[in-house]
């Protein structure tokens, strides 16, 4: 009845946006910036991609999309959109030293509003019967699985059946993990997040690192939004459909103790738990479903408590997380 081969791909598809979001937030947090605006950023990333592809699809007669442009345009739009959000965050918190929490939360309000507003506007423009924008042609490019996916049985289903962004997400996570662990840039970034004053005194350009890592982080998270709408949702933008995955991504950062490589499996696991309730028996007793929906959160909580019992210094958040740095401040 319950088939793991069928379930794993579903879990992965749930996991990818979470993975991108949490990878982005991880490298942001590594610079000491606690960006609570990630939920907003992911919306902006998604809607920017949608806007780009919408106008591209509109400008080209149907069926004549150029495959490269169909991917490139939304991709670049999503990156730009989320980059701008990152820039806004950095300008406010790094340059103007505004409180990170308020800035982040305001960005979430703004970003979700932005997504839904332009989503709503496009929906009106598209004038579909059912209020949604459907970019099925573009989506086909995004969700195209790897060759042999359908021919290799369970192996293909579990490993090859995803759109390219899923693989990109994993690669990005691996690269981030590598950079953080093994390179000088990673060392500097971690230093900035731990103790910006010390990093600064060591000659590291704290501002630059904060700006770059936060903007990059936002761009990665923005891809998460893009993945959701273009691949998972089959190119259909509906307002608020992305839900609170942004918050879950932030939660995953803590869950994965700021390690993007751990994030890969964790987000897939979480993705699986997130939809597990649909696979558990409840029948007409839908109230049990509501209890089942607690599973991912309870599991997270339990794992969190257990890991915190063996309190390691290296597993703590970056020490300066949430605070701004001004060299002349004591």
């Amino acid at each position: 009845m319950f088939s793991l081969v069928a379930f794993i791909p579903r879990a992965v598809q749930q996991g990818v946006p979470l993975l991108l979001g949490s990878t982005g937030e991880t490298i942001t947090e590594k610079s000491g910036n606690l960006n609570l605006g990630i939920p907003g950023v992911m919306y902006v990333g998604a809607i920017s991609g949608v806007i780009g592809s919408f106008f591209y699809e509109q400008s080209v007669p149907s069926g004549q999309l150029n495959g490269f442009l169909a991917i490139f345009i939304p991709l670049i739009c999503a990156l730009i959109g989320s980059f701008l959000m990152g820039l806004l965050y950095c300008f406010l918190t790094v340059s103007l030293r505004a409180n990170q929490n308020v800035t982040g939360l305001a960005m979430t309000t703004f970003g979700i509003g932005f997504g839904n507003f332009f989503g709503g506007s496009l929906i009106k423009l598209a004038g579909a019967d059912v209020p949604s924008i459907s970019l099925s042609a573009t989506s086909a490019y995004f969700s195209k699985s790897l060759p042999f996916a359908s021919k290799t049985g369970w192996f293909g289903k579990v490993f090859l059946s995803y759109g390219f962004l899923a693989y990109v997400a994993i690669i990005i996570a691996l690269i981030c993990a590598y950079v953080l662990k093994k390179t000088r840039v990673g060392l500097h970034l971690r230093a900035v997040g731990e103790d910006p004053a010390a990093a600064d005194a060591a000659g590291i350009d704290v501002k630059k690192y904060k700006y770059v890592s936060t903007c990059l982080g936002c761009m990665i998270a923005g891809l998460g939004g893009l993945y959701y709408v273009m691949d998972y949702a089959c190119g259909v933008w509906s307002n608020d459909a992305f839900g609170d995955r942004g918050w879950l991504a932030i939660a995953l950062v803590i869950f994965t103790i700021w390690k993007p490589d751990i994030g890969i499996l964790s987000s897939i696991l979480f993705g699986g738990l997130y939809i597990l309730y649909l696979y558990l028996p409840s029948g007409t007793h839908t109230e049990y479903k509501e209890l089942y929906k607690m599973i991912p959160y309870i599991v997270t909580l339990v794992v969190l408590v257990i890991t915190s019992m063996r309190n390691k210094k290296e597993d703590q958040p970056p020490k300066s997380l949430g605070t701004n740095y001004f060299r002349e401040e004591r």
């Binding site: 308020v102 305001a106 703004f110 979700i112 509003g113 939660a251 509501e290 909580l301 969190l304």
Partner: protein, 366 residues
């Protein structure tokens, strides 16, 4: 002359203490520029006259007597939640679990209303509601605090998870108590008997406002003038110092979260017993998170929180009016709220620092 080193064109220095008046001028300028930007954006997006849009926003919040009351009621509830979160934040305890604590308070109240309606007299039911909802909120708040105190468990994540668990609990009971079968809705509880409905004082909006006033004043005094408030501050600033002077950090964390959760529970009671007379998973409407913003924006000052929560509610209320009047979708208001917030938080910089432009450029040319 030797090779010219590039001289910074400006640099940032800390301001000497700025007078309150100047600070307010800076803030007002910021808000005005934010409004100007909003106006421009509105015009570009919709072609509507921005003045009339702002007039509509104002009308939405304060247009009629009823609207004004509702606005104040909303402010009251948001304010209570923000105040509830504040001691935790002052203690540097990341309570993003307001949402769950409010829900649990509401759930407790609803449970009393539903299960005790025909068993106990109204006054007893209300009394039990007050006790259980405050208790439920407190319990929900203290669980992450216990984890934190015992194992230093990251409270941001644990409180967030507690939100979801609370939401699902409410969702569960909503279905258990749904009327009619399968609808997934409870509907107004005791609509005819009104058992468990908190009494009207004056009008039905005033109760929350009074409670909020009391909580505001109480919290202000608690944080500023009491030993507990002082301990909270010390623990928040430096746990080592707290231990050094014999403050039991664990005890303070637990006690503070009990309080924080209890007040959230109280907000849940008001929402269920006083305002909506039902419970849904969305009854707190994200205010557990909005409260975080309100609290920080006011720099944990309870009086300032009145203004920050008013601002946020005002924008939100105005927004729904916009969507009614201009066929703009409601999300537009979130964009405007965001922009105004960005300006307000950005302008603090100019209150704390000034930018000094190098004037001795003459020397360079010489």
């Amino acid at each position: 002359m030797e090779q010219k080193v590039k001289e910074p064109r400006y640099h940032i220095v800390k301001r000497a203490d700025i007078s309150g008046k100047e600070a307010w001028i800076i803030r007002v300028v910021a808000i005005l520029s934010a409004l100007l930007l909003c106006a421009i954006i509105t015009m570009v997006c919709t072609g509507d006259n921005p003045i009339s849009i702002f007039a509509t926003i104002f009308k939405g919040a304060f247009g009629t007597q009823r609207k004004t009351w509702i606005t104040l009621q909303y402010v009251a509830v948001l304010l209570i939640i923000s105040l509830a979160l504040t001691p935790a934040f002052k203690m540097q305890f990341w309570n993003v679990g307001g949402e769950g604590q409010v829900l649990m308070g509401g759930l407790a109240a609803a449970t009393c209303m539903i299960t005790l309606a025909d068993k106990l007299p109204n006054a007893v039911v209300i009394l039990l509601m007050i006790v259980t909802s405050i208790l439920a909120g407190a319990i929900w708040g203290v669980i992450p605090a216990l984890f934190k105190a015992m194992w230093n468990t990251n409270e941001t994540l644990s409180t967030l998870m507690m939100n979801y668990i609370a939401t699902q609990l409410v969702a569960y009971f909503t279905i258990v108590w749904e009327v009619p079968k399968g609808s997934g809705k409870i509907g107004i509880i005791n609509q005819n008997s009104n058992v468990g409905w908190l009494p009207n004082v004056g009008n039905k909006y005033l109760l929350s406002i009074i409670v909020a006033t009391v909580v505001t004043i109480g919290m202000m005094i608690y944080l500023k003038y009491t030993k507990h408030g002082y301990e909270i501050e010390v623990v928040g600033e430096s746990q080592n110092t707290a231990r050094y002077v014999g403050i039991s950090v664990e005890k303070v964390i637990i006690r503070t979260m009990l309080l924080s959760g209890a007040i959230c529970g109280l907000a849940g009671l008001l929402l269920v017993g006083g305002i909506n007379h039902t419970i849904t998973t969305t009854i707190s409407d994200g205010q557990g998170f909005t409260g975080v913003m309100v609290s920080w924006l006011a720099k944990f000052n309870p009086i300032a929180m009145i203004f920050t929560s008013l601002l946020i509610i005002f924008m939100g209320r105005g927004a729904s009016e916009i969507s009614t009047a201009f066929e703009l979708n409601q999300s537009f208001a979130d964009i405007l709220t965001g922009i105004i917030l960005f300006f307000i938080i950005g302008c603090e910089f100019f209150i704390r620092y000034k930018i000094v432009v190098r004037k001795d450029l003459g020397k360079e040319n010489a």
